[in-house]
Subunit: 688 residues, 2 copies
């Protein structure tokens, strides 16, 4: 009875003190307690407002415009202010910014219902990056190991030096001989030894040894914990996993834009930037190093570590990315014969690259296969191990470029296919990157031809949205802004399935429908209507967009077919879709569209960022580095650009689907495939 | 006849156009042609005037005060100006400096006889350093070699990478396998290869390979020339030889003060500075690196090279110096058990130390023997090779500390003796470093007790000076300013030989002479009279000075005797005096004073900077580095500080000469020894 009334009181309290706060333009809303700052409220609701000083009233970045007042449908009437008034410092800051009517969200505390508008400059929307570590079984045998060792103390009349004394102890205890010591570790050696004095008179230290040959760290006493960073440097996205090298656990995953995007969206424009600007290489190198330092700092922070605790790193990336990473000009990769400066794996001190990891940390860059098939593809090889399988596996890694692998334990071919950036949303009228508001899923009703879609940042499909601000929960967090890579694949496939497009990719001239607008000979499909978009204008899929996708998918398909021709196989047993893109396109849609050759649908897998997984594998297991080096040499690279067979296959693969006889089983099961697609769930990854 | 008259004309011309210029306070004088700048004139006469901008009228460092006019004894009478008038820019600069009557010597051109006074702030007197490479026969087999190689060009469809292609060419041509490449070289590889395109289609490059295992440089085409730097980092002086690694030739020798002197004159004060100042090590490390960069730049410049052309370096120094060089705290060397961080040799990338040599250059630091016997002593070992001799050799290297080696091919002992800095002129009333004006040679007439001496910077002995400015040639370039290390040894020995001092080191109380002043119980000998010195005050040798020398020489002698005791030998076959100091003290004086034990005078050699020679040997011959490592371990170090035998020998060696029975043959031949000494010529180095 007593308990019950306490609960009732608590409920009363909760309801009474909670105020409705709505943030525009996202429309996000929620109830917050009286006294919370608007900035805190925004964070709770997933509305990202920029703030550098974190409430210290210094940066002025968190400004919002506030429409105070009661919301009629709740019937609350209040003449009092719904926010605490601005203090002198806040007023001063706003005056400096020339803004009389704004508020700094960090200093405005909620007193009642509030509608706040977050202006463009205050938004801190980050790219949503979907690269994340998948679950792989990796044997833990990293390139570094931590050893606790007790060392004889120095005595007068014995002159071997502290480093020799430590070497002797390590030789006796671990059988380690011919060790060298990193200068930075040597500098700390004597202090560490004397800091670890034991009662028995010996010195105890914990050292870290790299590849059983170089001592890179020494700390007094018993210390536990070694950490490493595996990074996939994509043309667009840099994604890293910070790993515990004892357990293999991923402690943090961070991703960010590759800052080189400023110097060119695709590889060729970056190569050309390096070619035409004297300091081009330097700028791009510095930019990526700076980002890697930021990424490491963030990952370390979120794992409760410092970047200086990163003792080892493995980097993968396409050849242009690894060249620039190492400060090597990529210009030779820009033209035949596409000569690499170095194809083999490389160990470099992190400090020599300007990376602020541990002072003795080593960076291992996986080897490349050929001028256009880089360490990222070797990462995919390590992660998927097609070279250990009996089945013939086709692996497709679609990023800005597409790398294709075909083979099994007996033979292996690789190729790079010039898909262009259409799959990433570039060269598409309403294309955009995978950012909030991007349409990423599309379903078209074959009967009504109307589309329903899902945008990044909002869980619900568009047909569940309520676009009038009437209820608290129904207004979408983000309205549609454009179409990202996976969205463009789906919409083109769906348009084909719905009969809007013909097999040759042209809009069906016999279809007269309100969703299709004919601007003379430039037809377009209305994917999102004006009331579903942020700017009130509809989002269209044009004939040119369809052509771009046709060219890209034909290049991908032709690359795969070329390798099948070289290998003299008619059919592949298994298809692996790698890359962030591969994780979010639906295998069925990919096959409907003709991105990939015929294969049992059960045997099509999306494996996410396999390149990053490969980097992680090489980070956790040093033997895998040797394996990578061997396999990279063993894979036979096939040059697509100059091969007449490629041109042949390319032309034949332009259609949607490229040739109906390639889909005998699909032809019959299309309704079923469509049903699966409707289900909206991508299949889970399976190993083996 | 025609010829004769032409000569006559030329003579006339020469005499007519040459003007007498005298620089004060040095008194240096000479005749220069009309139109020469005063700065040029000063340089010709060895008067060092500071100049940074080198005549660009920017720095204003070269200011002099000018007494124009004719010099009566030449009978030249001239009313016109003897210098070109100052231009606007010069006037402006002088006005800025608040100096109305000065001239900038770079812009004042001689028109007649001039007397110029160089003020203190304009003087650029450098330390005169006598470390210079002696002539040793060294087999040329450096750690780096230059290889011209022709490489297959890259072709489409072949993906090994340019580095692999170069590796293949080097393996085929030179049998080099398992080569690694320095990142900096890899960055230049592709440009270099393509810059060396041959008519036949191949690529030609010249590479530099370190220790047959790492490629550190690649340049297009055929290039010849590899250079290295050997440096002896003394506590007081840093001396380096820039060598041509093809011929072994010394291209330039540079020396400078060790800038760490600011932080303490001797090793203990520097160790203590590192101990008591948080940034002490960092400051001393940075200072020495900066100086090494300056030294390298100067040496390179004087050889017509750039510092970036230094591809390899060998450094020696005492243990404190090598620790600080490597950025390792020397504090453990400051107290028992005097533990070295590392006794063994070390290879470090020059760039990791902040040395601006070639980007891939390696620095080799020779090993040490014990806490207080460092790489410099190993350098002496390499240079003198006592470990290859049948004779028992005593090697004494006197710098701020004295290192002693005793042994032959069968056994070898080493010790460090706490001589203190008296031998370097410190702790001496009128002591100074070996700089212009320092008394470095002394002879005392036993009859008159008057001294004649020679100062650094003036060839003539003081009894040939004319201290009135009457003739052009007789005024000394430098008057006496103080006494340097070799001078103090000689004067004490001479005072003893002349009967001014007794065997116990006390001033002879029975001697009543105008050259000896008795300030109560503090007698002193007048070495230079007021008219022979720069400031007009006499230079004295005090009783305390004699005591300091007695203590220092006793320490040195006791160290040598201790090793003889340990080795159980009565007599040494040969004595080698190493170090800058060893080159300038007279072996006879050293024996008279009792610095060194009894030995046939014919078998006493002064070998100059043997430590530096050892560094040069290790620079020119990589096999000597292994030899150094082996020998450094093989030598048995004897700790002097705690040995009762050392104390014993020390007390017994205080006398002058320490014990007359130790000099049975000298006793008889003293007059002869004196005669040799009078001769004033130190004996030439002999190899044997």
């Amino acid at each position: 009875m007593l308990l019950q009334s306490a609960n009732a009181m608590s409920n009363n309290h909760t309801q009474k003190d909670k105020n409705l706060v709505i943030f525009m333009p996202s429309g996000r809303r929620g109830r917050v307690e009286t006294g919370q700052s608007l900035l805190e409220a925004a964070r709770q609701m997933g509305v990202e407002i920029e703030s550098i000083c974190n409430g210290r009233l210094t940066c002025g970045k968190c400004k919002v415009h506030v429409e105070e007042g009661t919301f009629p449908k709740h019937g609350i009437v209040s003449g009092s202010s719904h926010l605490t008034p601005a203090g002198d410092k806040e007023k001063e800051l706003l005056a400096e910014m020339g803004d009389g009517c704004g508020r700094l969200s960090c200093s405005a505390y909620v007193q009642g219902d509030v509608l706040a508008f977050v202006p463009e400059e205050s938004r801190a929307q980050k790219q949503i990056i979907r690269k994340s570590a998948s679950e792989l079984v990796i044997e833990i045998a990293p390139a570094i190991r931590q050893i606790y060792v007790e060392v004889d103390t120095a005595v007068l009349g014995e002159h071997q030096g502290d480093w020799r004394r430590l070497q002797t102890a390590l030789a006796n205890q671990e059988g380690l001989t011919d060790l060298t010591i990193d200068l930075q570790a040597l500098r700390r050696l004597q202090t560490a030894l004397r800091g670890g004095k034991l009662a028995g008179g010996k010195w105890a230290v914990t050292v870290i040894v790299w590849q059983e040959r170089e001592l890179i760290d020494v700390q007094p006493g018993y210390v536990e914990g070694i950490y490493g960073l595996a990074v996939d440097i994509g043309s667009t996205t840099i994604a890293g996993h910070l790993c515990d090298l004892r357990t293999g656990a991923v402690l943090a995953t961070e991703a960010m834009m590759n800052p080189q995007v400023t110097y060119g969206e695709d590889l060729m424009s970056r190569i050309s930037y390096a070619m035409t600007h004297k300091d081009g290489l330097d700028k791009m190198h510095t930019a990526v190093i700076k980002s890697l330092n930021q990424l490491a700092a963030r990952a370390a922070k979120s794992a409760g570590l410092r970047p200086r605790q990163i003792h080892e790193a493995v980097f993968v990336g396409n050849t242009t990315m690894t060249h620039i990473l190492l400060g090597i000009s990529p210009v030779e990769l820009g033209g035949a014969p596409f000569a690499l400066a170095n194809r083999d794996s490389m160990d470099v001190k992190a400090r020599d690259l300007g990376l602020r990891f541990h002072s003795g940390a080593n960076v291992h860059v996986l080897p490349s296969e050929a001028g256009h098939v880089g360490a990222d593809n070797v990462g995919v090889l390590l992660a998927e191990e097609p070279y250990n399988q009996e089945k013939i596996v086709l692996t497709v890694d679609v990023g800005t470029n597409a790398e294709i692998l075909l083979g099994n334990r007996d033979w292996m071919f690789s190729a790079s296919s010039p898909t262009g950036p259409a799959f990433e949303g570039a060269q598409i009228a309403f294309g955009m990157r995978a950012a909030p508001g991007a349409i990423e899923r599309v379903r078209i009703d074959p009967a009504t031809k109307a589309a329903r879609f899902r945008v990044i940042g909002e869980e619900r499909w568009s047909d569940e949205w309520e676009t009038e601000i009437e209820t608290e929960t129904e207004y979408p967090a983000h309205l549609a802004v454009g179409i990202c890579g996976s969205g463009i694949i789906e919409v083109v496939a769906e348009m084909f399935l719905a009969g809007i497009l013909q097999a040759d990719g042209r809009f069906n001239p016999n279809l007269n429908h309100e969703r299709v607008v004919w601007n003379g000979r430039k037809p377009a499909y209305i994917l999102a209507t004006g009331d579903q978009t942020g700017n009130g204008e509809p989002i269209l899929v044009t004939q040119d967009d369809v052509r771009s996708i046709q060219l890209a998918k034909a290049a991908l398909y032709a690359g795969a077919k070329l390798l099948m021709l070289r290998a003299n196989v008619e059919k592949v047993d298994k298809i692996v879709l790698a890359g962030a893109f591969g994780s979010y396109i639906n295998p069925q849609h990919a096959m409907i569209l003709g991105l990939i050759p015929d294969c049992d649908l059960e045997q099509v897998y999306a494996v996410g960022n396999a390149a990053g997984d490969g980097a992680r594998i090489a980070l956790l297991n040093r033997n895998k580095r040797k394996e990578a080096q061997t396999v990279a040499h063993w894979v036979q690279y096939v040059e697509t650009a100059v091969d007449p067979d490629f041109q042949n296959e390319f032309v034949g693969a332009i259609h949607l689907p490229h040739a109906s006889d390639a889909f005998p089983h699909l032809e019959g099961m299309l309704p079923e495939a469509v049903a699966i697609v409707r289900n909206g769930r991508s299949r889970r990854r399976k190993r083996g």
